[in-house]
């Protein structure tokens, strides 16, 4: 029953934690007819309670921190978190700023990093597919909390473990 396995249906929720909007535009580009994410079963949902994968952008600002944690708490298990763009990974140019509450991985466990400022839609697509593999490992109880890095053009830099 490989065609009916849950990882063939990926409902993603787009979470902006204080991004400059560059990565958000690229996420929307990844969902346009040109890249056709729906062929992998990807659907953009508006409510975090419907989501399987959270695609997060931006360094977490101090104002956004509480809301971000509440939204991530609402996503049902098994879930995967994909961080898009260097701001979400290290803080980027905002690192050390007075208004930051940290990159996202200091607050919650993150599964996939997509590098780039901003990454290309190809990179985001590959990140989502890798998150599907992470979801499958989580469903089988074989997940070892290793973060997968994907380059901005979509090359996978680490294997999913």
């Amino acid at each position: 029953m490989t065609v009916l396995k849950p990882e063939k249906s990926l409902w993603i929720y787009h979470l902006n934690t204080g991004s400059c909007n560059g990565c958000d535009i690229e996420i929307l580009a990844a969902l346009t007819p040109k890249y056709d994410a729906e062929r992998f079963g990807v659907k953009l949902v508006g409510s975090p309670r419907h989501a399987d994968i959270v695609v997060a952008t931006g360094p977490v600002t101090a104002v956004a921190k509480e809301s971000v944690l509440r939204v991530l708490e609402q996503v049902p298990d098994p879930k995967a978190i994909v961080v898009t763009g260097v701001c979400g990974i290290t803080g980027g140019v905002f690192r050390g700023g007075y208004s930051l509450a940290g990159p996202l991985d200091t607050l919650v466990p993150v599964d996939v990093y997509v590098l780039g400022c901003p990454p290309k839609p190809e990179g985001i697509m590959v990140g989502i597919i890798k998150a599907a593999e992470v979801l499958e490992l989580k469903r089988r109880g074989m997940y070892t909390k290793e973060v997968v890095r994907v380059s901005e053009k979509g090359e996978v830099l680490d294997a999913v473990r």
């Binding site: 065609v3 009916l4 249906s9 079963g41 409510s47 399987d52 609402q74 049902p76």
Partner: protein
């Protein structure tokens, strides 16, 4: 034996309803020049939702939601059960009595009310807005629907020579069908069919009239706070509604009589697919969403006046 047939038919129909949802996504994707998801995608979505686990929002009235969803499933099965289905000799109904057409209308209104109850029990601003929009839409499309059913039943009684007290029974419709052949050949019946076709997108909440569950404005409306198996039931309910309505249109108006049971079954599946493409997929592919007052006004003025005219023509 009849019950075994009926259960098999329900299973076939529910799987087919998910496949129809998949064909819908595939057709829209091809129209947009995309490859699109596989046609079994909605079954995958349903299975996936059964796997998900999480905490329901603390303010959601969980028991109310559960009861409402069970009532909705029962109403959906009821709506399918009063419709005639392909048996070994001709078509037959599981639930047949005088007034089963009213049961069908009632089951549809009940499914819409389930959405309303789930929305108000969600107690989130999104779900409450979705529920109140569903109430507005229900008032606007239910009036023409009931008027058309009255006209339809009266015309069928006239055609089939049944008495006036059986105007709300499927059997008098079937009797009329056996005399006319295909029911849309009759001008009044054709009018009723066209009005019901226009009512279709609102009955199954397809895109120009999916105002209560607008994904981009109020995040799926009444089901915004649901997840996991409860959302799966909601998902199944939506598909059940689509297939019940398109099978209603097919079995009453378009299905030919006097076929072998397997030909009848295959034609039913094909007919529901074509009708659901007409009332769900094509409107979704070619138009955007209306505002709530536009939707309500459209149904009260367009099909509302048309159904009144039809009623006058029938009784004249």
């Amino acid at each position: 034996m009849t019950v075994a047939y009926w259960i098999g038919w329900l299973i076939v129909l529910s799987i087919w309803s998910f496949l129809i949802g998949g064909f819908d996504r595939k057709i829209v994707a091809r129209l947009q020049g995309r490859y699109g998801p596989p046609f079994w995608q909605n079954i995958t979505d349903f299975v996936k939702l059964l796997y998900k686990r999480g905490n329901l929002a603390t303010r959601t009235a969980t028991s109310v939601v559960d009861v409402a969803l069970i009532v909705g499933l029962v109403a959906g099965v009821l709506a399918v059960s009063v419709l005639p289905f392909a048996g070994t000799n001709g078509t037959f109904q599981v639930l047949a009595f005088e007034g089963d057409l009213i049961i069908f209308a009632y089951a549809f209104a009940l499914m819409a009310l389930v959405y309303v109850v789930v929305g108000f029990a969600g107690r989130s601003p999104y779900t409450i807005v979705g529920a109140s929009r569903e109430v507005s839409m229900l008032i606007s499309y239910e009036i023409p629907f009931i008027l058309v059913l009255v006209a339809l039943g009266y015309r069928a009684a006239l055609l089939g020579g049944a008495t006036v007290n059986s105007i709300f029974s499927m059997s008098s419709l079937m009797q009329a069908k056996s005399q006319v052949g295909i029911l849309v050949g009759d001008p009044i019946m054709l009018g009723a069919f066209l009005i019901l076709l226009v009512l279709g997108p609102a009955m199954v909440s397809a895109v120009p009239f999916d105002i209560p569950e607008a994904e981009t404005e109020i995040v799926e409306g009444y089901s915004a706070e649901l997840h996991g198996p409860r959302l799966a039931v909601m998902f199944a309910l939506k598909h059940l509604k689509l297939i019940a309505y398109s099978y209603f249109l097919w079995s009453i108006f378009l299905s030919p009589s006097g076929l072998a049971w397997w030909a009848n079954l295959l034609l039913s599946l094909l007919g529901t697919l074509v009708l659901s493409v007409a009332i769900n997929t094509i409107p979704r592919a070619v138009s955007g969403r209306f505002r709530i007052e536009q939707g309500a006004k459209f149904y009260l003025i367009g099909p509302g006046l048309a159904s009144l005219l039809l009623l006058v023509l029938v009784f004249a």
